[in-house]
Amino acid sequence: MKSLRSMLFVVLMSLSVVASSQTEGPKSEAQRSFDYLKSLAGSWEGYLTTFPQADTKTELMHATLRVTSMGTALVHEMRGDGPDDPITMLYMDGDRLLLTHYCDAGNRPRMVGKMLPDGKTVEFDFLDVAGSTQHGHMQHAVFTVIDANHHTEDWTYLMPGDKPVRAHLELQRTK
């Protein structure tokens, strides 16, 4: 009798797991992109190249990416010594992958992300912005994973008058 109860318990648990996995269904492309970006969690350093500019590379830059809020958000911080280091939050909004950039220009643009056909690049296009755009705003971001320890980031900022300036970061994992 006792073994029958145990067997019934195991069968019911198995059915429950199967039902649960069938309810979740396959992950959306946006969710897969988000999970892919979460693999970047860690500390990074590298050089930044700016366009249009005559400089080739700047001083060593630092960035951190951290998964938080029970895996629902990825926090990106560009780290320097100054008060102008921006924070970016990446998260799922329904079936969309969104990015909100907290800019030192005082605004918060949102961008929608999608995985490019190469399967390595997630590109974010401007969606909307909260706050004043008097001093311009971040418009576009691209994350390209090269391997587990290397990735690049491209950030495009639209100046007043819609003239773009771009920063390209080549980063190597330090932790």
Partner: protein
């Protein structure tokens, strides 16, 4: 340049304003190179993208030009262009308020000129005391 920043506007705008002040004061002259993005970012502990935005603003205002592989340079006529713009800005934005205050207080041109004269000049004009 001062290393302190305030919260009234983005740092790149403050950086732009400081370069403008240096051009108006003659510290930076036509043809002079601007320090590189790298140097300014390191020296003033700001994000390089912030410096780039400040410099791009100066390029957009035709005060500075980017020479490929060589850096950024103060344009010929930059000071005149700035003076023209700053004078127009003063007359349009600040002067109406100042003028209204002068009218309200009944200040005469003579009083204003005397107040504008440096103290050392005033001292020279005063008759010697017995």
């Amino acid at each position: 340049m001062d290393r302190e920043w305030n919260d009234s506007q983005p740092i790149y705008r403050q950086l732009r304003d400081r370069v403008v002040a240096m051009i108006l004061d003659g510290v930076l002259r036509e043809g002079d190179p601007l320090p590189s993005v790298r140097t300014v970012a390191a020296e003033y502990r700001v994000n390089p993208l912030t410096v780039l935005k400040g410099y791009q603003q100066l390029v957009d205002e035709q005060l500075v030009e980017s020479r490929r592989g060589r850096g950024m340079f103060i344009n010929a006529g930059a000071r005149e262009l700035l003076l023209l713009g700053e004078r127009q800005k003063f007359l349009a934005e600040q002067w109406p308020r100042i003028h209204a205050t002068i009218q309200r207080l009944g200040l005469t041109p003579q009083e204003l000129l005397e107040a504008a004269t440096p103290p050392s000049s005033n001292a020279k004009q005063e008759p010697p005391k017995p």
